[in-house]
């Protein structure tokens, strides 16, 4: 969703649409449980049919905060041949990959994907099914697409096993988590997952949403979907704070953390705040050797959607300067309603090299795909 446009055509904006892009957040759609059947043991298919997926939320189906659109999707994203938004590879090619000149698209299979099922054994089975489905239906058919590995992160052992099973598999370029974990994600019980990701040389991608079970604010459950959406930035601040203060980056130095769909405008303020607090309280965390902002600068990437759009649009350039132009990864969030269009998200004059990194280069380097732009 881009709510602002410049009145006059801007040369750079025209160029942007012609640039090759990497898309850090694409959501492949499923048409229902039947899509998973080939990859799920009969026992779990029966379980799903009888008991449902049982997330840590109230309803059997659908989100606790009703979305603004069916499937939270663009009204024009229903495939012409039928099916749900995002479920057709052919239509994804014609509606997204081709017009955006996308050479690398990262598939994040979020939603009812097993990561936060109350029944963790079932959750692990569903995550594995998701990964097999991602290969069979998507990455094996379209070389521009790579997937995030869906891991049952609340079951440490099973998550590690899933990472080890796919380590080195070229279909997967990062490990996927959700930002609402059941405990602060920097805590010890999650470390083996990050160690396994580091061994497999995979970044950890953390997408908005999740079902940790706790209220999404420190003051209880808000009323509205808009609060849930805006709140991802706060959940992500808590996520990153936990990672930094527990010392994940210090203990597992190869960790690369990618924060997906939670904005990036909040990062500088949080980094300054953590530095200030840590200077006061550092005797509490002797395992930290450097300023929190230094860990963040070195280990954290962020996807751009939903793009920050201040009233004075150029203010966002200050923010990106503070974060680092090498840390932002363009993303569309296709097919969701708040999709960002590469032709409109960066209408300000930006030097060509920075623009190229923002839309393409940072992602190619992070995900180890230097040849993608050559195809």
């Amino acid at each position: 969703m881009n709510v602002q446009y410049r009145d006059q055509p801007v040369a750079e904006a025209t160029n942007a649409s012609k640039l090759m892009t990497a898309d850090g957040d694409i959501h492949p759609g499923r048409n229902g449980p039947k899509d998973m059947a080939p990859f799920l043991a009969q026992r779990w298919q029966d379980h799903l049919a009888t008991y449902g997926s049982r997330l840590r939320q109230a309803y059997q189906k659908g989100p606790a905060y009703p979305k603004s659109q069916p499937y939270a999707s663009r009204r024009d994203s229903y495939p012409p041949e039928g099916g749900r938004p995002g479920s057709s590879l052919g239509f994804m090619r014609t509606q997204l990959l081709d017009p955006n000149n996308c050479v690398l698209g990262i598939l994040n299979a979020t939603g009812d994907n097993g990561q936060a099922f109350q029944n963790r054994e079932f959750g692990a089975a569903m995550c594995h099914a998701m990964n097999e489905w991602l290969i069979a239906e998507w990455t094996s058919k379209e070389p521009r697409l790579k997937a995030s590995l869906v891991v049952p992160f609340e079951d440490t052992q099973a998550a590690v096993a899933e990472i080890e099973r796919y380590a080195g598999n070229p279909n997967f370029v990062q490990v996927l988590m959700l930002n609402r974990t059941a405990e602060p994600p920097g805590q010890k019980r999650y470390w083996p997952i990050y160690e396994a990701a580091a061994r497999a040389k995979l970044p950890i991608g953390v997408h908005a949403f999740g079902f940790g079970g706790f209220p999404v604010t420190g003051s209880g459950w808000p009323s509205y979907y808009i609060e849930d959406m805006v709140g991802h930035a706060q959940s992500c601040q808590a996520f990153l704070t936990s990672f930094v203060i527990e010392g994940v980056f210090e203990r597992i130095p190869a960790t690369k953390l990618v924060l997906i769909e939670s904005g990036f405008g909040w990062v500088p303020s949080l980094a300054w705040r953590l530095d200030k607090i840590w200077r006061r309280l550092r005797d509490e965390t002797p395992h930290l050797k450097r300023l929190p902002s230094e860990y963040i600068r070195e280990h954290v990437w962020l996807t751009t959607q939903p793009m920050e759009e201040p009233a004075t649009r150029d203010h966002v350039l200050d923010t990106i300067d503070w974060i680092g132009w090498d840390r932002l990864l363009f993303a569309t969030d296709y097919p969701h309603w708040d999709y960002d269009d590469p032709a409109h998200i960066l209408p300000m004059p930006v030097p060509e090299a920075k623009r190229r990194d923002f839309f393409l280069g940072n992602a190619l380097r992070l995900y180890g795909q230097p040849d993608a732009a050559a195809t």
Binding site: P222, Y224, A238, I245, E246, G265, W266, W272, R273
Partner: protein, 356 residues
């Protein structure tokens, strides 16, 4: 040497209740007796561990007793050095954390009586915030009614994390009473600890607890705006106390963008969040979680898009800055004047009665 901007208004001072015993003279017979025979402990919140470096500047820490518990020290360390014309006392004694609504009402009343007798009556530069039992809005309103006649009480005090998001209708009677008496609602860092301070559960370290206050303020502001508090109470002012302020621009970018996309869900929010904040919300200066350089700070101030939002505070005795560096580099002389004096006076109508 010396603070160059005297005559200002310090909007966040923390006088400490020395001990639960210090409240005995102000408690009803019932609650005094309960406190004694039940052996009730001191009610200091885990939000500010007394010995934590953040809870008191090293040179502001007394040899014995709690930081902030001595009026003479506050005079010598805060009111004097900063040339403070008026200072607003925000007691953080943990009465809002009690589970019993009746006990909370009894202790909130005692804290307010204590503040009057031991601080406001003793020092003409001091003003107070009304501590309310936010556990029960009906009792909170009663406490507001009890204090509103004393013009030295200049705002209603709440904590940023309660049982429910602060915009919920549950709390509206408090906002109605505050508006009726022309009292801003001050929302201070801290929690009733009904929920983990992060959306991801209880953190391991106090460092994280304090960091989490700023995201709690973001969520509280979202809630106040989205629930329509400022549509319902158009004269209400809210002051975010010890919230940090550098998160505000980016938070408003995000909230305003989603409002443009989702306002059909909250049609009573008929103005842009940035405009609502400009008319209704203020933030105290400390802590300054800002860029280390003056140029960066100047940019950030520009991102705030208004010079009326910030109110001077030292956050005494909390350790937010050293020496007399209460103002960050990068502020213009004009902005400093507004922060020190004009903005607080515009925010707190009752202060205008003391300042010609």
């Amino acid at each position: 040497m010396g603070f160059a901007h005297s005559g200002g208004i310090d909007c966040d001072l923390h006088p400490a209740v020395p001990s639960i015993k210090a409240l005995h003279p102000y408690l009803s017979d019932h609650w005094r007796e309960a406190s004694i025979i039940r052996g009730m402990d001191d009610m200091e919140s885990i939000a500010y561990p007394i010995n934590s470096p953040l809870s008191a500047r090293p040179d502001w820490r007394p040899d014995k007793g709690k930081p902030g518990s001595d009026l003479e020290m506050m005079r010598a360390q805060a009111l004097g050095p900063f040339g403070t014309r008026l200072g607003i006392c925000n007691p953080l004694y943990g009465v809002q954390l009690l589970f019993s609504e009746d006990m909370a009402a009894g202790f909130a009343r005692a804290v307010n009586d204590w503040l009057v007798a031991e601080w406001l009556d003793q020092e003409p530069r001091l003003r107070g915030s009304i501590v309310v039992p936010m556990q029960n809005p009906e009792f909170a309103v009663e406490e507001i009614e009890r204090r509103a006649g004393d013009r030295r009480f200049v705002q209603v005090l709440m904590l940023v994390m309660g049982d429910l998001p602060l915009g919920k209708r549950h709390y509206w009677p408090i906002y109605e009473a505050a508006q009726r008496h022309n009292l801003p609602v001050g929302i201070h860092a801290g929690s009733q600890y009904r929920h983990p301070v992060t959306p991801l559960g209880w953190p391991s370290y106090y460092t994280e607890d304090y960091a989490a206050q700023s995201y709690a303020f973001q969520a509280a502001l979202t809630s106040l705006i989205c629930e329509g508090v400022f549509s319902k109470f158009p004269a209400l002012k809210v002051v975010l106390l010890e919230s940090g302020f550098t998160w505000l621009p980016a938070h408003l970018w995000r909230l305003e963008k989603f409002w443009k996309g989702l306002r059909m869900e909250i049609p009573w929010v008929d103005r842009a969040p940035t405009d609502i904040v400009r008319d209704h919300v203020r933030l105290t200066l400390q802590p300054v979680d800002g860029p280390p350089d003056a140029t960066g700070m100047a940019k950030l101030i520009e991102h705030m898009q208004s010079d009326e939002l910030l109110l001077f505070s030292t956050d005494y005795p909390h350790w937010q800055f050293d020496g007399d560096a209460a103002l960050p580099d990068g502020l213009s002389t004009e902005l400093i004047r507004k922060i020190m004096r004009d903005n607080p006076l515009a925010t707190y109508p009752r202060l205008q009665e003391s300042v010609p």
